[in-house]
Assembly symmetry: C2
């Protein structure tokens, strides 16, 4: 343990040191390094897959669920996908050095607000090995060093991927030490890492609610927490029911295990009898289980072939991450807004409506990272938003909110040029 802690300290110190040089590395060097990483991932495919296979077999033997095994698994196609994502990041504009604002004061001082890297980013994540590469290349592109601490289940895969990134990046002019990988999966090292505020500027936890809570409660530095999405769709009295049903189906079924999947549909009472049976029949084809309040249950109980049950208190504000959804009939837009205010997690909320006033009120009054009118909550995603990639989705209001990509892992500084000005 003591050896591990000393190693951890040393790695964090190296990351800090490297970050000072990394912040001045020119865009073309960073981009070429990322292209080298993209190539190296393909060249090292056998090595990476061998390590992933060991992780997979061990996880399988330990009784890991199919869904989790699928998240862990790499194959030739997925490696190619990861490599392509690296190229995409290489092609994005470099945020570092961007002039955010410029002005000349009456006294002649020329102010320029310039984008700079944050410094050192710590990433604590679970399971999916591609995160090792995604986060590394986003951090490098934005001029930040990164300290990676992945999950135990994918330890060998992560080590192989991180090693591939390090080797290719350092050979291409990225300062050695910019990418640090913590091999030990001892939990107490995370405790220690979260106290290293002199070395680490920001920690991004990516994983389940327990991990995020642990990091928020224990980190001495800034944390961007997110990834918990209790998402609602309010189907207004004026909704186009065909659109609303299609949005519901997509948001619930297309990928139920992710944070922007739908958890609860709130339906205006005037449209409930017309909308709910059609919606429920669609969802039944995908074997979605509906937890219904008494009014929606009253409407749906006579529809054959549905998997429905009465909702309990715990259903409101629950993130299912599975093919389960809550349903509630509301009297008004106001009741829907109150429900979302009380039970939403500030991630993604949607309204289906053809009434401009209702749409405007919903967009204005819902306090969430992403508020939709007549579209699926599944679009909350950096790549979908045209940001090229994402390092995570923030449900905080501080620093960055919603999908976070390159700009969201930068800071800025004011540069002021004068000619001897002093303050009167």
């Amino acid at each position: 343990m003591q050896v591990d802690i000393n190693e951890l300290e040393e790695k964090a110190a190296q990351a800090r040191l490297a970050s000072k040089r990394l912040s001045f590395v020119p865009s073309d060097v960073k981009n070429e390094a990322l292209m080298a990483v993209a190539r190296a991932l393909l060249e090292k495919e056998d090595f990476i897959l061998r390590n992933n296979e060991k992780d997979y077999k061990e996880a399988e033997a330990s009784g890991m669920s199919r869904a989790m095994l699928d998240r862990l698994m790499l194959d030739s196609k997925r490696i190619k996908g990861i490599s392509e994502d690296v190229k995409t990041v290489a092609e994005l504009p470099d945020p570092v050095g961007e002039i955010i604002e410029e002005r000349t004061l009456p006294n002649g001082l020329a102010l320029s607000k310039r984008r700079v890297p944050l410094g050192v980013i710590g990433a604590i994540y679970e399971s999916r090995p591609n995160v090792t590469v995604d986060i590394s290349v986003l951090c490098l592109k934005a001029g930040n060093s990164v300290i990676l601490r992945g999950g135990k289940e994918s330890a060998r895969s992560n080590l192989a991927l991180a090693g591939t990134v390090q080797e290719a990046a350092y050979r291409s002019g990225i300062p050695a030490g910019s990418v640090q990988f913590i091999e030990s999966t001892d939990r107490s090292l995370v405790d220690r890492l979260l106290k290293m505020k002199d070395y680490i500027d920001l920690v991004i936890p990516r994983g389940g609610a327990a991990l995020i809570k642990f990091v928020r409660d224990n980190a001495a530095m800034a944390v961007v927490a997110g990834g918990i999405g209790v998402c609602h769709l309010y189907v207004d009295r004026t909704a186009d029911t065909r659109k609303a049903a299609a949005i519901t189906y997509n948001a619930k079924v297309q990928r139920p295990t992710v944070c922007n999947a739908l958890d609860c549909v709130l339906v205006h009472k005037d449209i409930a009898a017309g909308f709910l049976p059609a919606m429920a029949k669609d969802l039944a084809k995908a074997e979605v289980e509906l937890h219904c309040d008494h009014r929606s249950l009253g409407i749906l109980k006579s529809v054959p072939g549905l998997n429905i049950r009465p909702a309990v208190d715990e259903d409101w504000g629950k993130e299912y991450l599975s093919l389960v959804m809550a349903v509630k009939v509301v009297d008004s837009l106001d009741e829907a807004l109150q429900h979302i205010d009380r039970f939403g997690s500030g991630h993604s909320e949607a309204i289906a409506s053809e009434d401009e006033n209702s749409i405007q009120r919903f967009l204005n009054e819902v306090d969430a990272a992403c508020v939709y009118a007549n579209a699926s909550t599944r679009f909350t995603d950096g790549a979908q938003f045209g940001m090229g990639a994402e390092i995570g989705i923030s449900t905080q209001k501080f620093h960055a909110r919603g999908p976070m990509a390159l700009r969201e892992i930068t800071s800025y500084k004011w540069c002021i040029r004068g000619n001897g000005q002093v303050r009167p």
Copy 2:
């Protein structure tokens, strides 16, 4: 105590509740409310000054220093100044609702990134009573509720000022509860306040290093810490010594008790013999005490009339907040950059130079909120930067850096309008 804690909880809950309505209050209502506050401050001058006099007399009897007494004291002219500052904030553009970014995706989704209030801001501050008003009106203008916890020394003044703000603002359409003032000066209430992350989005400590450290170490919510400035001026080999001396004098002497005052001059060895005596003679007129490294001491010891002594280790990286300054001769720009990297606090750093390469390197490589070329560090100030006011100066790289005004106490949300789009 239990009564106080219940009251604290209730006030925080009220602030949260009010913030939801405050976030939609139109600009003209907010602006008129601020103008009403500006008028009320003048109308209630007698009441405010009577309360301030009690604070002042008690502080004087307790042996408070002249400088601190001066910070505490209000008079007719200062009240007028505070009132004018409120008008200035009223006239600034409303940040809420600003469209930061807009784009339409290939699938027709219209994205709009809109500025929104942060929610509830906690302000923990010491001594100067004008802070009560400054922070309140900045928070209200940006649509945020505020919870004020001022210092013990100015308790009566703060209460009178906060009451004046509340009365005038609520009468003008600001939701009641938007400005909360914690009367009890029991320290343990601050502990409790710092745990209320469900009610408070951001805490801004304004005061000495001990207060800031306490808040950073104990707050469960986001903190913007700043106000500690260890500021350097590097006088390059190519500096215009006349300008450099004027900048030194201004940055050290004009207001030595504030965070953007100069603490240390680093002088290139080639210019030290020519520059230091002139600089030191100027400073001697203002009775500045110089703590000199051995090389600068060697140059200055033969100059009559100076107040100089050898520097000790503690002089490097020290924020004096008084008429004391450290002086060091360096061999190169690189040595100056290394010194600043090691001992600077990330607040304000300056170079005096006539060489474009040195200036560019300094502006690029120094990692601080504000980096100056040929100007006094005293300009680091929201009003000086043209931001109209400031709620504090951040030395963090997360969320906001440098002077913080209205925009810096906002967040944003993504509004997405579609026509039934679902994710493929």
